[in-house]
């Protein structure tokens, strides 16, 4: 079991809503971005003397730009329906982690500066000045929201705390208080092309290594091409898929599926990142800038389709925002949605009977499936509502014999976040991540006890990295979390091609490890 400097929450047979215990997570705050991480994103490096006035001006600007923020600031009636829905509240007991508690951190400032009653009688409606203490609370608690949208499912007005924490982070960035983890990563995308800062040569090395590994294991030459002009499909996948476990097993699986489909595809070293951390910090401009890299590559590589790999928040930006941010996509093949999810692609092939599976290859596992929050509540797959739940499960059932769902209250659109989403997957928030994972791990533990489940599949790079890290705190094994396409990869029966007999591995030696152990640690971080 991993060592913790805090108390790891207990796993129970029946979930309990904890008693409100104020201040338990007031100490939790991520590292603040240094000026060098702020400026590439267009943000000031530090607080100015008139930060308060700047922040209020920015809030006014956002209230005019985002209907969600405007309506949600006014509409809450404090009914309490959301209060027991956030995994961070359930895991930490801190009332400022109740969705309404978190929203109120902004709402009390909104009421003070933007409403009549708040100006005249602040105490009556709980309005306060935007003091340094309030700002510190903002920094702490708006970095305890993974923007998973579970609260928005149950709110009678659909108030989405993610919208509010994004706006809060945007306001804080605009006055020079940024989060190091997110902003440093976005900088890496601008300079190198992906969150992990993996340059093109390292990617090419890795992909060659994968080709050799798959050939050695299967005797079939599966290609993992990169930067190939004229390929039909551009695959954009989270950069963790290139190196981290179990992510890379998923990437191997995508390649095998493309191989069986007989399509030409390519990765890109310039657009080598599916995730878009611009969303986490609520910055439309940065989100757009990151998205445009994909457009530029689609044009340069002359592809006809774009497919995204397994990544939750990335799929939200891709499915819901990419057309807005980087469209129109009229130069691509109009017979396919833009973009497509790799699960949609694989599912279509299964439906057409083009893939053959040996399900017994996964018989060493009993599976359950974790609906990643942003896939579940902020996107879709296929052409029917709820396809994002049914398609991944259909794929798992097509490649595995043993599958059981977790408790209904914890899956589909009521799924719990892994605890590491929304820009919180960093070591400086370890306590929050472990405690926030409690509701999900509890449900997992229950199907392990009752159904003998051994592994949980996910389709999100953040979920995979998060569970790899936090499961050991709960006495579980880090490899109990698997990629969905890892299961596909295990079971798929590959069709040999004519050139498979020739061994074209010229250098003959093991490819140099592109990264040492220290780096793989940081990969885990940046997933």
């Amino acid at each position: 079991m991993a060592k913790a400097t805090f108390v790891v929450p207990a796993l129970r047979q029946y979930p309990q809503v904890p008693a409100v215990t104020p201040g338990t997570m007031a100490h939790s705050a991520p590292f603040v971005a240094k000026p060098e991480f702020q400026s590439p994103l267009g943000f000031p490096g530090a607080l100015a003397d008139d930060w308060q006035a700047q922040a209020i001006t920015k809030m006014g600007e956002l209230l005019g730009k985002y209907r969600s923020l405007r309506v949600y600031m006014d509409s809450c009636v404090k009914c309490g329906a959301c209060t027991d829905k956030c995994h961070y509240f359930l895991g930490t007991k801190d009332p400022k982690n109740m969705p309404v508690g978190r929203q109120d951190l902004m709402r009390k400032v909104y009421r003070r500066y933007f409403t009549l009653v708040g100006r005249i009688a602040p105490k009556l409606v709980g309005a306060t000045d935007f003091t340094k203490e309030v700002l510190d609370d903002w920094y702490s608690y708006f970095h305890q929201c993974s923007q998973c949208r579970r609260c928005s499912v149950f709110c009678p007005y659909g108030i989405d705390t993610a919208e509010i924490s994004m706006a809060a982070r945007e306001i804080m960035d605009s006055i020079g208080v940024g989060q190091k983890y997110c902003n440093e990563i976005i900088g890496k995308v601008y300079t190198i092309g992906n969150n992990l800062g993996l340059p093109g040569p390292a990617l090419r090395d890795t992909l060659e290594g994968l080709e050799e590994d798959v050939y050695d294991e299967t005797g079939v030459k599966v290609r993992y091409p990169i930067d190939q002009v004229g390929a039909d499909i551009l695959l954009v996948t989270p950069s963790a898929d290139f190196f981290a476990e179990p992510h890379v097993d998923g990437l191997i699986g995508y390649g095998k599926v493309f191989h069986e489909a007989g399509v030409s595809w390519t990765l890109s070293s310039y657009a080598s990142e599916a995730a878009n951390f611009g969303m986490f910090i609520g910055s439309y401009e940065n989100m757009r800038r990151i998205s445009l890299r994909i457009r530029e590559e689609a044009i340069r590589l002359k592809v006809k389709r774009i497919i995204f790999g397994e990544c939750g928040h990335a799929w939200r930006v891709a499915y819901s925002f990419l057309n807005t941010l980087a469209g129109p996509w009229d130069f691509l093949d109009s017979r396919y949605p833009v973009p497509q999810h790799i699960c949609e692609f694989t599912y279509d092939l299964i439906q057409q009977g083009k893939l053959t599976f040996d399900k017994t290859q996964n018989d060493d596992k009993v599976l359950t499936y974790h609906d990643s929050c942003n896939v579940a509540r902020a996107s879709r797959m296929g052409d029917q509502p709820g396809g994002q739940f049914d398609i991944p499960r259909a794929i798992i059932k097509a490649v595995c014999n043993q599958f059981y769902d977790m408790d209904e209250d914890t899956i589909r659109d009521r799924t719990f976040c892994c605890g590491g989403g929304g820009g919180l997957l960093t070591d400086d928030l370890m306590e929050l991540r472990v405690k926030g994972a409690q509701p999900r791990v509890e449900a997992l533990n229950n199907v392990m006890q009752e159904k003998g489940v051994t592994h949980m599949a996910a389709i999100c790079a953040i979920c995979k990295s998060q569970f790899t890290k936090v499961l050991p705190y709960y006495g579980m094994e880090m490899d109990q979390i698997v990629s969905l396409h890892q299961l596909v990869s295990n079971a798929i029966v590959l069709t040999p091609r004519e050139d498979d007999d020739e061994d074209d591995d010229e250098d003959g030696e093991d490819d140099a490890q592109a990264l040492d152990d220290d780096d793989s640690e940081s990969i885990d971080e940046a997933a």
């Binding site: 409100v20 104020p22 209230l63 005019g64 730009k65 985002y66 969600s68 309506v71 949600y72 006014d74 509409s75 009636v77 404090k78 009914c79 309490g80 329906a81 959301c82 209060t83 009332p95 109740m98 309404v100 508690g101 109120d104 409403t115 009653v117 009556l124 409606v125 709980g126 949208r149 928005s152 499912v153 709110c155 009678p156 007005y157 659909g158 108030i159 989405d160 919208e163 439309y284 757009r288 499915y319 819901s320 925002f321 057309n323 807005t324 469209g327 129109p328 949605p337 833009v338 579940a376 509540r377 902020a378 996107s379 879709r380 052409d383 029917q384 509502p385 994002q388 739940f389 659109d413």
Partner: protein, 243 residues
Amino acid sequence: MSFLTGLYAFAFYFAALVLVAGLTWKVVQYARTPAPLKIPTTPAPITGGGVVLRMTREVVLFESLFRGNKWTWIFSWIFHFGLFLVTLRHLRYFMDPVPTPIAFIQPFGIYAGFAMVLGLAGLWARRFLVDRVRYISSPSDHLILGLLVLIGCSGILMSFVVHTDIVSVKAFFLGLYSFDLKPLPADPLLLLHLSLVAGLMIIFPFSKLLHAPGLFFSPTRNQVDNPREWRHLAPWAARFEQR
């Protein structure tokens, strides 16, 4: 014309003006603020008709709240449905002749007053009994509940215990349409009831009562899930593309 009649006439002209102007201002503000990104909480309807259905279920049945918390749902649904019937019933005091449906629901409307107060009591009790709800309640939350309970109780008392001269009350309100002030009966319970209602009308556009129009503008509920098929672009976001 007595001072009292003049005062209440003024109060209701003022309250009606504040309510209409204030709500119009907020609705226009909501409508003119762009929603730059597609953010429906999914699974979401993929057609406009589906969105109308989703919204209807939210408005009529409080679907999301039902999934969220059964106690809050049952109390708030009883309260809102009671309030709806009571409001419909009261239309008879503002219309002449009284339309048949309004006449038909009179007996239901009277008892709906009890339902309304019962629902409010349940909601108020949660503000004391559930620690999470207690934590998020501010004085204004209690005051609004108190205001509604007092309105309900004073109305019930007039229906069942201390009757007022309802014919004169109706004449007073019908007279307001043509600025023809008819005397208002000086019953304390009636005066209390009416001043609280005027107060409710005045605070509506400045308080959380804005949840009523707000729901219709909530992007997580009113957007169609079709971002891949239709390009959604807000005017301020479109300006980035012209650079």
